[in-house]
């Protein structure tokens, strides 16, 4: 092996913050093995953590989750990590550092990544109990401990960090005030109008903002009780968080005789060398070109610069763009390029929407060609593109306002240049310094196929995460460019999407799974493709699913919902939630006879739990004889159409919501689909049926029905979207027919309608064109196919009950009639529940 030197170079890093850590990570990645012996000192008790997302600590993120890399990472990379150890002296002449524990270590190169501390203005009483700074996890722990004693908190400082601290105070449940000395919030990023919009948004969230306020004293004994201000006003508070800026930690450098700036900061050149060429300073402690950089991205770039030079490369640090985007308490705020430049040096375009709370400003060069900078408040989705447009000097479109307003030509294409038009060298991830070329080449060379692997391979998007949406765009665009469709295949047995299989089934008149896999797949199938194909066959031919019982999931195989302990639950259809007293009595009698636990479901019907598999046909025989039919609670199919009581009884009701719900539920009962389907019908806008949380929801209006589609509850709730308004009953049903059949034909397996719509190119507007305008010319087919399903419906349980061969399959053992002996119950609140 070639150039591993006889003696490794000794690198000492003072400071284990984000930038100090990033230096180690980059050095380890670039260095020859064994070339360096790295020693790191951190004064905090834990290894470097993500300070950018510190406020997440208050909403439940743990210290471990914020950690950049665990202690074991340092061990694995042969880095000597000294935590909780303060470096007290640097002897630059003999190249030696000493620590407060008396340790002395020699270095060849010394890296100062000492960071900064919170700047605490000299206010009377600032030392009192209840005054905190917002900087380290220890600071946060101290606040969390104090907060239960407090009701009202004031944050001194309305800058970026101050507003983060305000979020933390809110998360601790405190009434929150922000005190800013300047005339606007985030004075380094926002102009007056931007600040004004942000102020309104924050005030709406319950945070009081006080501008032009200079704090003169903090009163109270022993703890904080009151603040007084230069204008004579006062504020009662019992906790104060100081977040008025940062102060570079340069005391060690000063002691060592290194040059520092007049207002602090270790002076460095473009190679980040201090006045001693073997000592470097990076991050918030370094003063470069008269600037202290309080953001993480320039710190990382400094680390990259030093590492590159150490390993023999060439790179200089030439200052850094202070553009930033963040979500402050749910409000998007971004500032990029030169946010303040104005006439006569630039021309500005401003958009303000005081209803939605959006402010956007862009500054265009005098010749109208280049974007110089701007400000976004309330909506910042275009930040990445705008930043790239500035940094890469991309010529702006003739209608430059499109950059912030979007193209208003009616088309759906986004305005301005897309991500593909960026040059190869465009920086996509400014935190990690990853260019578009690097990302696209990794996608091609490493055959990456998702954003997670791009992050892993290039590190792009791993820090602030702001560029992650662009990574997705680049991935799709690059794959497309490579001629690769991002193909959805069902599983290892079928190289087709669900939609393609449905077409194959239909065109080739395929009726069984065996036939399909033999001719169009490979292997023997699995738990993914079998139920998916079963659903497709059912949605196409509507034959009794028990003809192919062993390709059904267990719920469909036994036409009941399996529960803990291996028993099943039974749910008869109660369309629209309407039931006669006689039928209620039957349910009660059946449940009592078979000892079933009963509970009202979320879909306005009654679930009977605890039935053994061998009891199911007997139970259903009684139910069927009393006029009940299957509720399909076990199927990926229509479940219920929930209704409010409607105009029949309700003094507010406009139309008969119960009647319509029953009509719809009976129309689509038994309809197999990619996932379960739920509906709702409300008789007026009070929306008691919660129709807007369903796959389809219908709400009565004065003139007819409003149709909402593609909502769901569940783990990721999503509101249904308004699809069409004031429909008559017939049109509403026709749209529903088309919509449901289009979903059944095109969705991937186990995608609810909301997920399906979210993935659909063109979104709800496209769907309207297909369903209402018939842009694909398929509506007649969809209606015919739905009519076939409606006409061929038969109750599955009725068929089983009347078929002795099918009934025989409902037993636990095949060699003895006895039931499963492992099933046990215990009583609870007057009913039985399984013992597990």
């Amino acid at each position: 092996m070639s150039s591993s030197p006889a003696h490794p170079q000794r690198i000492v890093v003072i400071g284990n913050g984000m930038v100090g850590y990033k230096f180690c990570e980059k050095l380890v990645a670039k260095a020859q093995p064994g070339a360096y012996q790295i020693t790191v000192f951190g004064e905090e008790p834990r290894p470097a953590y993500d300070r950018v997302h510190l406020s997440a600590y208050f909403s439940g993120t743990t210290a471990e989750e914020l950690t950049m890399a665990p202690v074991s990472w340092y061990e694995e990379n042969n880095i000597n990590l000294h935590l909780g150890e303060l470096v007290t002296g640097i002897d630059a002449t003999s190249k030696l550092i000493t620590t407060h524990k008396g340790l002395a270590i020699s270095y060849d190169k010394l890296i100062l990544a000492t960071g900064s501390s919170a700047f605490v203005p000299p206010i009377n009483g600032v030392e009192k109990e209840g005054v905190f700074v917002y900087r380290t996890i220890e600071d946060l722990d101290a606040m969390l401990e104090y907060a239960p004693k407090a009701r009202t908190a004031a944050v001194i400082g309305g800058g970026l960090l101050g507003l983060e601290a305000a979020k933390a105070a809110m998360d601790m449940g405190l009434t929150t005030h922000v005190i800013e000395f300047a005339s606007r919030l985030m004075p380094r990023q926002l102009d007056e109008f931007g600040s004004d919009m942000l102020k309104k948004k924050l005030e709406n969230l319950g945070i009081s903002i006080h501008l032009n306020k200079s704090t003169t004293a903090i009163l109270g004994e022993p703890g904080v009780r009151k603040m007084t201000f230069a204008d004579g006003s006062e504020l009662d508070v019992d906790m104060i968080i100081v977040s008025a800026g940062i102060k570079p930690r340069d005391e060690l450098a000063v002691k060592a005789g290194l040059s520092v700036g007049p207002r602090g900061g270790i002076l460095v050149n473009d190679a980040l060398q201090t006045s001693d060429p073997d000592i470097y300073a990076i991050g918030e402690s370094a003063l470069h070109g008269g600037m202290i950089y309080g953001l993480v991205a320039p710190g990382y770039d400094m680390a990259e610069t030093v590492v590159t030079n150490l390993v023999g490369g060439e790179k200089t640090f030439k200052g850094f763009d202070m553009s930033t985007k963040l979500k402050l308490i749910g409000v998007d705020v971004a500032s990029f390029g030169d946010p303040f430049i104005s006439e006569p040096n630039a021309r500005t375009i401003v958009f303000e929407d005081r209803i939605k709370g959006i402010y956007k400003r862009i500054n265009i060069s005098e010749d109208g060609k280049y974007l110089l900078g701007g400000i976004l408040v309330g909506e910042a989705a275009n930040y990445n593109m705008l930043l790239q447009t500035v940094q890469n000097r991309i010529i702006v479109p003739p209608d430059a306002e499109d950059l912030i307003l979007g193209s208003r030509g009616g088309g759906s294409e986004s305005a301005g240049a897309g991500v593909l038009s960026l040059p190869e060298e465009a920086t996509i991830c400014s935190c990690e310094g990853v260019s578009k070329g690097t990302i696209c080449n990794s996608i091609k060379d490493e055959k990456l196929c998702d954003v997670a692997s791009i992050k892993k391979c290039t590190k792009a998007g791993t820090s602030c995460g702001g560029c992650v949406p662009m990574l997705g765009d680049l991935l799709n665009a690059t794959l497309k460019e490579m001629g690769q469709e991002v193909k959805q295949v069902l599983c290892e047995h079928f190289q087709y999407s669900r939609h393609e299989i449905l077409d194959i089934v239909k065109v080739n008149n395929i009726r069984t799974f065996d036939e399909l896999i033999s001719h169009h797949g490979k292997g023997d199938g699995c738990e993914i493709c079998k139920p998916a194909v079963a659903s497709i066959l059912a949605s196409t031919w509507n034959e009794l699913i028990l003809k192919q019982a062993t390709i059904q999931d267990t719920n469909d195989r036994y036409l009941a919902n399996i529960q803990k302990g291996g028993t099943y639950s039974v749910v008869p259809r109660i369309a629209g939630g309407e039931i006669t007293p006689e039928k209620l009595i039957v349910i009660g009698q059946v449940a009592a006879k078979y000892g079933l636990y009963t509970k009202i479901t979320g879909g306005q019907r009654i679930d009977m739990f605890g039935a053994r598999v061998d009891q199911l046909p007997d139970i259903w025989e009684e139910l069927v004889n009393a006029g009940f039919e299957s509720g399909h609670a076990y199927g990926k199919s229509l479940r219920t159409v929930k209704s409010c009581v409607g105009s029949t009884w309700c003094r507010y009701g406009l139309h008969d919501s119960v009647g319509f719900a029953i009509q719809i539920e009976e129309r689509y009962r038994g309809l197999r689909s990619p996932h379960k389907l739920k509906g709702g019908v409300s008789g007026c806008v009070r929306e008691c049926a919660e129709a807007q949380s369903k796959d389809f929801g219908i709400i009565a209006t004065e003139k007819g029905w409003n149709l909402y589609i593609c909502g769901n509850g569940g783990a990721k709730p999503q509101h249904a979207q308004l699809f069409a308004t004031d429909l008559d009953t017939e049109t509403c049903l026709r749209y529903l027919d088309r919509f449901l059949m289009f979903y059944i034909k095109t969705a991937e397996p186990l995608n609810r309608t909301a997920t399906w719509l979210n993935k659909m190119e063109g979104g709800i507007e496209y769907l309207r064109q297909v369903i209402i305008e018939d842009s694909l010319g398929i509506c007649a087919d969809l209606e015919r196919e739905m009519e076939f399903m409606v006409d061929t419906y038969a109750c599955e349980w009725k068929e089983v009950v009347n078929n002795p061969e099918l009934r025989k399959r409902f037993q636990h053992f095949v060699n003895t009639p006895e039931p499963d002996p492992s099933i046990n119950f215990r009583p609870e609140r007057g009913q039985k529940v399984p013992v597990i």
Binding site: C526, E527, A549, F813, D820
Partner: protein, 123 residues
Amino acid sequence: MLSTQNPDTRSSEVTYWFKAAEVSAFPADGGACVKYQNQQIAVFNFTRRNEWYACQNMCPHKQQMILARGLVGDQCGEPKVACPFHKKTFSLLTGENLNGECYEIQTYPVKVEDGFVYIGITE
């Protein structure tokens, strides 16, 4: 006659062939549960492969007596069963969990003679 037999090497160690049920009791490409003494054994009639398999009926993940009602299939050619509860999958050859988890299931040799299914018990 001996129609099919799974390739379980432990067949030679079988001390007792338990006569479980008629072939017709086991649905094509599916399973059914057999009671042997106090044990529950899932037997699979893998018609597509013309093979038979048997394993414990209890899924070790949540200790549910259920595997006989699971879907059979293959993973890269290896025959497997998926538990209906949480879709944990197990090799029908080795009993190994195929989701990379550390529990496994007991498998049994199966033979079919004169229209009856026999499970190989090793005492």
